[in-house]
Structure formats: C-alpha cells, structure tokens
Amino acid sequence: MPENRDFAEFYAAAFPNLTGALFMHTGDLGEAQDVVQEAMIQALRRWAVVSTYEEPAAWVRRVAWNLATSRWRRLRRGLELAARGWANDAVAGPDPDRVAIVRALAELPPNQRQAVILHYLEDLPVAETAELMGVAEGTVKSWLHRGRARLAVLLGDAALGGELENV
C-alpha cells in the first residue's frame, strides 16, 4: 500500500526532528511528542494532499507549532494532566538541569523562543520564520537579536550573543 508506506517513511524521518525542536520550546518531551503526533494525525487525514506538497514536513511543522503555541491546547493538556496525575504522564527525557540551554530558553518570551529555535535550530531563513509565525521579518530580526542577547546573559557566555550578522 504505497500511501501507507510513504506516510510511514515520512513519519519515521520527520518525527524525531520535529519533536526535538518542540522539546526545546516546551521543555517537556511528553508534550512535544503529543504535539507532533497530533500534527502527524492531521497530516495523515489529509495525506492524499499533503503528500503532494514539495515539503510535507513544512506543513507538519506549521501545524505542530500552531498546536504547541495554542493557548487552548495548553490549557486542555493541563487539565488532562491534572485529571490523570502529573507523575503518571512523565516521559523520560534529558534532565533540564543538565541542559542549561533549555532552561535558558524557557526564560525567553514565547515569541523570542520560537524565533530562535526556528531560525538557529531548524535553519529556517528569517523570511520563512516570519511567514510561519505570521509576523514581519523585521519583527523576527528584533526577536532574534533580543533572544540572543538574553541567552548570552542567562548562560554567562558572551559568545552566544553573537553578531547581528548571524541573523
């Protein structure tokens, strides 16, 4: 069944990358996996169309980020976790205390954090980052600049502050 095989291949290739990036944003591996899985389900539902896109992963990334930044979804997940008990839902992941950059990212405003991850980790150009976030390129540049500066302070590493040209 080619369609199934294609989706399975796509899933295997895209899931870890997307989950890793969203983990950097949420700081919660379980939530990142949930978000990416939901985005994959949405993709499967429209796979006949999504599979024809030049970059199906870009579509899934957009859906996943939308889900991750949805206030309603965060609220719902919070309620679900509260109902089930937080401890039972824990997914093993890197100890945040040992991943200083994740803690530092958590200190950034969500928009800055998302822009930094999309641009520096997912290698999206500023234009694509701005398009995905639905803001102007100048806004993204500003967020990237402030985000870098803040991370440099938080991590005590001036080199992280970089140069504006890195943007």
Binding site: F15, G20, Q37, A92, V99, Y120, G162
Partner: protein
C-alpha cells in the same frame, strides 16, 4: 549563518541529547487514532440523525397547543327554589347527602365543545379548583391548571350551605350538592340559593368528603380547618370558598 555559531551549536547539541529519549508512538498509532476518531464521529452523526428527529418530535409534542380555554357559562343556571328546610334539630342526625335537596341548588350546565385530546406525558391528572364569585349566589368553579390537565383527570367537589338554628345553637345543613370537573367540563357554575340570610354559611370544597348534617355554632369558624374535630371536611380536601359568619348581625348572636 556560520556552523561555528556557538548558539547554533548549543541548540543542536541539546536537541540531539533530547532526541535519544524520543519514543515515537508510530505511524500505525496515528492510523489507529484517526480510525477511532472517524468511528466516533460517524457514531455521533448516526446518533444525531437517529435522535434529532425524535427530540424534535418530543419538543413539538410538548409545545402542542392545549385546547382553547373555556369561558364560563353565561346563561342562566337551572336553579330551583329552595324548599324551606326543616332539618332535624338533633346534631347527631346525619342525613345522607343523597337525600339532601341537592337539586335545589345545582351546578350549572357542563361546558361543551371541549375537544378530546390524547394524554400528554406531562399532563397533570390532579388539579386544584378555583372559584370566582359571579354574584351573590353564583360561582364559577374552574381548574387552576387547566392547560396541563390530563384528559382522563377528574376533580370532584361539593358545596354545602348551612343555616343557623338558634334553638340548638348549631349550624344545620340546608342544601348541598356534588359535582366534578373533568376534561370536557373544566368549568361549572354553581348557584347557591338562599344566601341572603346573614347567618347562612356556605362552602365550595374540593374533594369527596362526607357532607356533615350540622356544625356546632361555636365551632362554626373552625369548619375550614381539616384538623379540627368539627371540620366540615377532612384532610385531603381543599376549601376553596368560605363564606361563613362574617356578618355582624349573626356574629352578635354568637
């Protein structure tokens, strides 16, 4: 965007360290979830298609207009003259209501034209009656909850008129009668003759209680209390009209 960018390197390293913990639920899990959601959606749609018409039908049934309200009869009520009663002065005598001159004061003609209607699941088989004084001698007896009254509901009532007997210091039954309200007779007119006497007392009472032949005068005003030993009627019956002992002349004699 140099690969030597320390921020890029730090992020990539952290992301890689996290990736080793990623446990994808799998493409098959996504398919199962999608199938389950489709099944739930289809089931919900089927349930809606099945029950929506039923719910609409029930809603419309409950909103079905009740039969047009009935108006009180305006025509004269057959009311015979009240023969001069000569009741037994003995309080112990208890004439049967069936031998009372009930024909002398009769209920008005039944309402006609009320359409028969099927029983509604929300209808009330019981109802309170209410009275409206049309004149000094004419009263309308009707249902309080006429619109929700069940087609097979029956509400009995009776009326009784007492006169003061000074010799025995008691109130003696002069006239009485019984009737009932039902689907086709939701209103009736009661004419109580002879109420010009200032010492008469008369009652229109809901229920089927036995009609007492006499009421001791000192306790006359307690006749409306179902708990009183001299009550005109018992618990479970409802007094809806009470016209005794309000005239100064009569009260003075007590």
């Amino acid at each position: 965007m140099s690969d030597l960018d320390p921020l890029r390197s730090a992020l990539t390293e952290a992301e890689r360290s996290a990736r080793q913990f990623v446990r994808p639920p799998g493409a098959e899990a996504a398919r199962r979830t999608l199938r389950r959601r489709r099944a739930v959606r289809n089931t919900t749609l089927c349930m809606l298609l099945l029950f929506l018409p039923l719910a609409l039908f029930l809603q419309l049934s409950s909103l079905r207009p009740s039969p047009a309200p009935l108006s009180p009869t305006s025509g004269p009520t057959p009311s015979g003259s009240v023969p001069a009663p000569t009741p037994s002065p003995s309080p112990s005598s208890s004439p049967s209501p069936s031998v009372l001159p009930s024909a002398s004061v009769s209920a008005g003609p039944a309402e006609v034209g009320a359409p028969a209607a099927p029983a509604s699941p929300r209808c009330q088989p019981k109802a309170f009656i209410v009275t409206t004084e049309l004149s000094a001698t004419r009263y309308t007896v009707s249902l309080e909850n006429e619109k929700t009254f069940c087609p097979d509901g029956v509400v009995p009532y009776f009326w009784a008129r007492y006169g003061f007997n000074a010799a025995f210091d008691t109130m003696v039954l002069l006239d009485s009668g019984r009737s009932r309200l039902d689907w086709t007779h939701k209103r009736r007119t009661v004419v109580i003759s002879g109420t010009g006497d200032e010492c008469d007392a008369w009652f229109i009472v809901q229920g089927s209680a036995a009609i007492k032949a006499s009421i001791p005068w000192p306790k006359g005003q307690d006749a409306s209390d179902p708990d009183d030993a001299y009550a005109l009627y018992g618990r479970g019956n409802t007094k809806v009209a009470w016209m005794p002992f309000t005239r100064s002349g009569c009260m003075a004699r007590s």
